[in-house]
Symmetry: C2
Subunit: 220 residues, 2 copies
Amino acid sequence: MTMTAKKPRVPAAATRERLLDAAEALFAQHEFDAVTIREVAELAQARLGLNHYYFKSKEELFRQVLARRVEELSKLRLDMLARFRSETNTAALPVEKIVEAMICPLLELSLGQDEGWKSYVRLNGRVATSEKYLRMAEGLYDPIAQIFIEELGRSLPSCSRAQLEWGFLFLVSVMSGTFSESGRVERLSDGAQRSSDLSAAYRAMVPFIAAGLRAISPEK
Amino acid sequence: MTMTAKKPRVPAAATRERLLDAAEALFAQHEFDAVTIREVAELAQARLGLNHYYFKSKEELFRQVLARRVEELSKLRLDMLARFRSETNTAALPVEKIVEAMICPLLELSLGQDEGWKSYVRLNGRVATSEKYLRMAEGLYDPIAQIFIEELGRSLPSCSRAQLEWGFLFLVSVMSGTFSESGRVERLSDGAQRSSDLSAAYRAMVPFIAAGLRAISPEK
DNA sequence: GTCTATAGCTTGATAGAC
DNA sequence: GTCTATCAAGCTATAGAC
């Protein structure tokens, strides 16, 4: 037998995936410039040089971290939206259902077993308020945004396009602010609440946003 | 006359204030680790070493940038709240008024002539979603938060303390997300709207948040 | 208070052997 | 694909003259 064992240093996932997992975890904890590609390599049990081999630059690594998750997340949101639509006879959905289809998949992934998704959700919570992150995420979130804005328009026909856009931004802000788990709630409540108690937040969030969106409408 | 001219290199503000102004402008544009104290010194027309003389460390410089503004902002918010209360006979204010007292001062400062305040408002919009920023801002925003949460409690007596805390967090999230001017709205609207059109946002924001807060309440 | 100079590290990127 | 070694540039913090 001439077969010589390849013996990969780490048996589990492919190197590229391990680097993405490590970067995801670190970017969820620290801002872009505070994370070094050396830390990423170390956490991934890979060598520094491999970052360059797979991603060429740190910015591209960051973008790939987001892109890997956004595709699946967008699919889940659209699936839920489609399901709600198939259950409704009328053309327009209740606003609550649209809000739910946007936020619920994020909540479920965040409460699931996958640590990677937990990290992504926390990271995602910070993307919306940063110019730099939005630039690196260029185009990743826009298709979903357009679809949900149009859906909101059907349910709130008296709203102008501009009002719908602001409303959607408010929705995203509440969702992001809450899921980023910055620890703000712990401080407000003297430790009684944990920002990781996302289910409680979700139960308050959906009625909050739905009622808010209706209130923007000129015809109340 | 034995008086010898002191001849300061730059006539205007004291060095410490110029460094704070410069840091404020740069931290408004870039994340903490992306701003170097060299840039700060250069923009302030001062020497690198003076950062250490006045602030000892970069983190303390950041904290002082926030602290300088927060004191005045908190005063404006409390003034407005007190004015609304003096205009109302009943014990509880309409929720709208509480929301206004929190957000309106920020809007007015942002629309004013002072570029420093504009920078601060943009920076402030990112503080709430970042663990690191909140740590550096330790305690700066908490007194205002407690006062406004209690005020909300009087207007929404059927809400639990936990619900009020989530509601306040949602309020802050919407405010922050909008005032951070990340350029998200421009992308959503294909350039038709500008995130700097904050007046339009404000007109939608107050009814949105007020209706949202009422919807959290168990007794609608 | 303000200046210069620099110590002591860390960074992202990459070249080139295997 | 993976490894080592290193480059050139940047950083914060600080010492010490004036």
